[in-house]
Symmetry: D3
Subunit: 333 residues, 6 copies
């Protein structure tokens, strides 16, 4: 029977000029929705898992439309909360070659940022779930969001649900009075799987030296928080805005495993590729051994670069085929 | 030589689903910009006047793009102020027949709402101008915006510039601690031309009885504020979302004049038609007698219903031709 | 608590040239999905009911996409069955004024037409439901579809669920060897609510004379099948492809009630308006008395003419407002 | 066997802003092709006739694309001539209600205007044809075009082919040194069917008085040029840019016949409706008596108002149905 | 004088999501038409040859629209047959990098599949032709299609017309009761030019060993069927869905010739590239020696990868320039 | 304070099929405007300079729309002249890999080509300017345009304004009776900065030998015209239509400086990249030393390849970042 994933976080309206138009040229915006955690849930749903996302939207037609996007992409949305007036937004101008993509956020004062712990009954939400996933963006948004996240992790722990967190060091996001270093460790310490980077481990937990390799830092993190079972990172080499290389690395507490490096030579949409990696990792760890799991995660991540929008809508078969080494992209009839 | 108009107010990003799609159906938004006062300025610019608009946008690519929209539509934008992070927005779902258009505003905390009086030097801005126009929306947005508006009117009075205000009674817009009745009279009393409605006069100034006709109310308003020279109203009969009738009415202090009633049987875009009326009135009063001016205003208003977007981009010739009674819309080669 | 509706029937891919292009001019198709019964379910879901649709799609990405359309529009899709290779389709060229819309069907051999009774467990599907709705199209498609429909009605009867059928006389649809007259009466006799036409009653049940009015025919139908409680019809006057008039009529067994006639002067999309009527009737009978119910049904039907696509996505508030006589379509801010 | 029509004239690239956008708002143009005579040929081809068009295009990819448009719409294009560099163009901004459509022509120096008589072998072109049609626009374009037109008429007369001309009085088009009055009568005198207007007869042939009705003027024209058999006119009442009324009138030399007046309440595209009338008349006179022919022509004309682009792509069945009085535009499945 | 090509086979409606959208994301489909044999004919027509295609479409507006597509792209369509109700279709989701394009066919029961030999008079169709081309897809569709194909080849042989066949081994297409091995050899034995692959020769004719190179297999095929003059293959190296390499190989009975390998680094549309190769080969063999012909074929094939849609619309000059080694794609003004 | 640039030259309407469609496939055109000199002005405006462009447009809605494009992209347009009827045009079909982009010009008889010296008062136009830029295209258009250009240069010299010219050898553009060699030297001799090529120097000034390197030719040019201070060239290596390499070279009279070679692996729009180079050079020479200036010019040029349309709308920050060696195009949030 399909495994069930619960995610929690803000979902933003994404507005982007068509094709490669710049903001100064646009007379329309393409409209999708996205957010790190919901992206993971949707990606897992396309792979065949059951998935539900918990978030908060304004109580108007735009909040409803955002929910409809999640439903269309296979999520359960019974736990969506409605209130206040503004949906978080980001504007994305797509770059190419040497020209960077540009992102402008408008999420201050959004309905999600005004969430409070009493709005979610985690016992109900997490019932029957196999996995709970959160990211480091959520506790950076507001104190209420951070507290909800902590409640979710604690409840998951209580219910014996695996918890993963995808946390990176973005200190400039923290504006509500608490610092990353105050909040994040509390959340991370009871996670089973942590996706992060070397810099992240150093800056968020004060571990290691500048020269320490990821494997060493991962070990230190597990020493600090022994409940953590695996520490994972995705290495990205940005040759240009149109050409990246991706490789997954996993410290299992016992072994250090690297995936094949995948060469994405013609990027369609780079946004959400980290979330596709996280989703691939969750699916992989639930269905394969660690070595296969990290290959699966990397393959899922690589494929997302070719899908427009925030969410990875490729099939299980697509990921498996690439995981098994077929990089040809040969037409399927 | 062309007359010069200065306007002041918020300009919002307008996002609308294509055609008659509802919010629940949209996968893209058409993007234009609009705001009551800028709409008036642009409309006058298309009629051949010089026009500049004073506003405040976020200091990012979206604020620049909004400015570019104003420039494209012939406004001077030297006086645009940049600061803070959010552009006001409204989402418009276009209705038809019995189905209403729906508007969702997101303007709280916008860059414009954070404007303060010291940001504008009205002596510089109004130099060489012939007319200053404001609307009742601006003082409802924030105390800073209200104060800027009052400064503008006072400076215009000092410089001998004609002032018009388009004010309606929207008490639910007033959220910053002052009421409509406290603020509006102070702004209106030194205007030369006031566009309003019977209800507006009753509710904002406490004048008249429920049964009083517009002519009577207009007289009372001039009695209260003798600097006002003309009181004008636009009557709209909404047969359906696709079919309206428009008539202009003007009390000149001496005479009560009504325009022909115009029958707009196939509406393309109803937004901004009031602003087109105000622009037509300004142009008309600057170039014709009162009777022609009110016909001109009504014709401009009627034509706007056939132009997509917030702003009236029809030509002087279009308006004159309709003012002179040619309702045929016969093809021009 | 929200009432729950179950519907059963084919959902087709709808492909239409943009705007008013003819098939000979199209270089793209707009893509939505629709089918009489699912249209009813979606319409009810937008009004606030719970709704699930039972259908069968090909087991490929197109079948999945069709399901996603239903999910996006708030339906539960747990009961969708996948199998075989072809999704039913219809091509729609939109007419105007004297030019008729043209529809080309391609539904022969579709996955739905190959459905067999063993594929649906109606006891499970109908559990907790308040209402089951079917249309006369389903039994015309194939013997399997007809049998499934009969099973559903019987199960609904057994579970005490209200049953409505929307049946019209389309003898040319019946190609699989049985006639309309053989199959339809068996299905109708245990329905609570029947939506049909005078011609339908005469041709499908052999009742009445050519001159008999609807009220008389409705009485005869109830005499024949005493389980039927209400017989309803929607009268449409087609002034042109762009202008229709709609009126609902209901025989309650005791009273003959007519709604206001609604004048739809600028049609956007005429398809699915009968389904919007049926949905309005179901909602109305569940929440109002008969007189209000028929007004509600007519208002829902009228509003659908202004919504692109097959499905009625207007809100409860929209329908109530029109039911209460506000035909102005005045903008809502 | 299908009758064969030959037409001759310029085909222009037509560039129009999408929907109801004005030139000042467009960021793309919709692209079709059109010209009075080719429009007639295409319309007849859709009705089931064989049709070929003679014209001249630049010898580049744009000239080829224009030819492809004619081919797509069922014309034979073997006789298209290629040379010089510029395709004639017109820009069309679509109006509504009181706002006129605006047309900007750019046809000076076009490849067609540089045509010379030796470029066309009319004996070959007109072989096997039943009908030749020209319009008064062609001889206004250039002396070469006028001479080609005269050659075509003379050859048609020699081969016993029926000739029709659709000529209106547009004196401002005549810029190459000859006047309308010098050239047109020579072309008209050997036509069998003339479509024109009262003003046209007065101004081009100096016949009649200002008060003379069309019937009287038509008689005078036949008296002047006894080879003319029928004189026809289309009356258009322009209620607004969105609403026209159309009626056909025909003087057969013996009887004066009027069609029903058709009420086009929601115009989609008004361009080419006169050509649709001419095409309907040609088809009608070839297949019906005069009374039916003028009804057929009016019905074809009315239907064109609902088809985007210059050309009438409705079917024979559509026209016959409207000719027979079905104005309902009821959906065809 | 231009050489004339006749082709025979199914033409399908091709429906694809815009850009790189997946089926799960599409709200519209781009619409073109294509089929292996018609693609060859159109490609040759763009190169300057005369070309006609024989096929069968439903007798409705969609069948007409498909014919119009062929006409637009320069084919003669006098021999198109109309009957039955369904046009074959394929849905194409475009891949990139590691993500494969996905194709879903719906061609079962199409009008073409129901073709019977008596519907085509090959003596008439092939009159004046220089070349007849077929592919291995046609005999796989239905017994009627296979028989028509055989009749065409026999008639072409009788009339001294060169015959080419492009046959690959797709055993899973053969569903009507005969196997590939039963039908194909009969069709191939009287062809002059055969385009195939090593696997094709082994599987369809039971020739050679798994290790045999193409040259050896080609020799064996000619030994088996001495009427065959040339055996040709196109080698494709799929580096990714966005990057292929192409090389042509030809056994002339005497010499084994390879073209340059062409490196297509940014694929726009990979569909129909094999047909572009076949068309290039036909044109090449008609106008050049074998060595130039295979270079021409490869260049045509490479260029098709940059043209959206099924058909190769590049010019003779484009192909010649690339054949002559100019791979720069430098802008042409 | 921002430096001010004045440019002079024709601005054309640019019409291009969407995406990679060929002219034979287009049913719409994307609409922008461009011209070598205006492109430079706009590019400099986006970098933060003040810029005005002098040109001549038809006195109709299309001329106004062209002006609006310039205004939108930050140019001052007070000096635009209106007259005559035709706007110059070019049609652009975008190529890829081995398929060249195709350009068709239609600029003969355009409003700009009919400009005469008395139409521009250069003393007024150039007042307060820091730099005047022209290209070799302008004097090739017409004698009037050439004379205006000469007047501008002379006035700039008189006012002490720096003059740059971007001149290439396109002898086939010169059709009005004077040759390139007669006109260009007179214009170049008083320029401060000349952008050209080795071939340009040889063909336009009769300098050097075929083997002479650019550095040598540049020296000879300065020897001939000692007022010239710097001679600059942009080297482009066209690997394919999708992949170019760019390098700038500058002879300062004293030193020969080359920029880094930039590798543009995924070209979006190649048009206007030379103009982006010129703009970058102007900005660079005004704000940096020669070595930085040529790096800045090359970076600006490289970035333009990723921006759709003729004009370079990247920011100063984008160019500086690439100039400083960040080729990663990493996303900016």
């Amino acid at each position: 029977m399909a495994k069930k994933l619960i995610t929690f976080g803000e979902v933003m309206m994404r507005l982007s000029p068509p094709g490669y138009e710049k903001f100064s040229q646009a007379s329309s915006f393409e409209l999708v929705y996205g957010g790190g955690e919901a992206n993971v849930a949707i990606s897992c749903a396309y792979l065949g898992m059951k998935a539900a996302h918990v978030t908060r939207f304004p109580d108007n037609a735009l909040g409803k439309a955002a929910t409809q996007f999640l439903r269309k992409h296979w999520l359960s949305t019974e736990q969506v909360i409605y209130g206040d007036d503004m949906i978080g937004k980001y504007f994305l101008e797509k770059g190419a070659v040497h020209r960077p993509s540009e992102v402008i956020y408008e999420r201050e004062g959004s309905s999600f940022s005004l969430i409070t712990p009493s709005m979610v009954n985690w016992e109900v939400v997490l019932k029957d779930a196999d996995w709970f996933h959160w990211t480091g963006i959520t506790p950076a948004i507001s104190e209420g969001a951070a507290q909800c996240c902590l409640d979710a992790i604690n409840t998951a722990n209580k219910l014996g649900i695996t918890v993963s967190g995808d946390i990176n060091s973005r200190s400039n996001m923290w504006k509500y009075g608490k610092s990353m270093q105050e909040v994040i460790p509390e959340l991370v310490k009871n996670c089973d799987v942590v996706i992060t980077s070397s810099r992240g481990i150093r800056e968020m937990f004060g571990l290691g030296e500048l020269d320490d390799k990821f494997q060493s830092l991962a070990k230190q993190l597990i020493t600090l928080f022994p409940n953590i079972k695996k520490v994972v990172k995705k290495t990205r080499r940005t040759i240009s805005a149109s050409h990246h290389q991706i490789q997954g690395k996993l410290w299992s507490g016992e072994a250090y495993i690297k995936s094949e490096m995948l060469n994405i030579t013609h990027i369609i949409d780079r946004v959400g590729t980290g979330d596709a990696f996280a989703a691939g990792l969750i699916y992989g760890l639930l269905h394969y051994d660690d070595a296969r799991a990290i290959e699966f995660a990397s393959a899922a991540c690589a494929l997302k670069h070719t899908v427009p929008g925030d969410v990875n809508t490729v099939s299980l078969q697509n990921v498996q085929s690439l995981m098994d080494g077929d990089t040809s992209g040969a037409i399927r009839r």
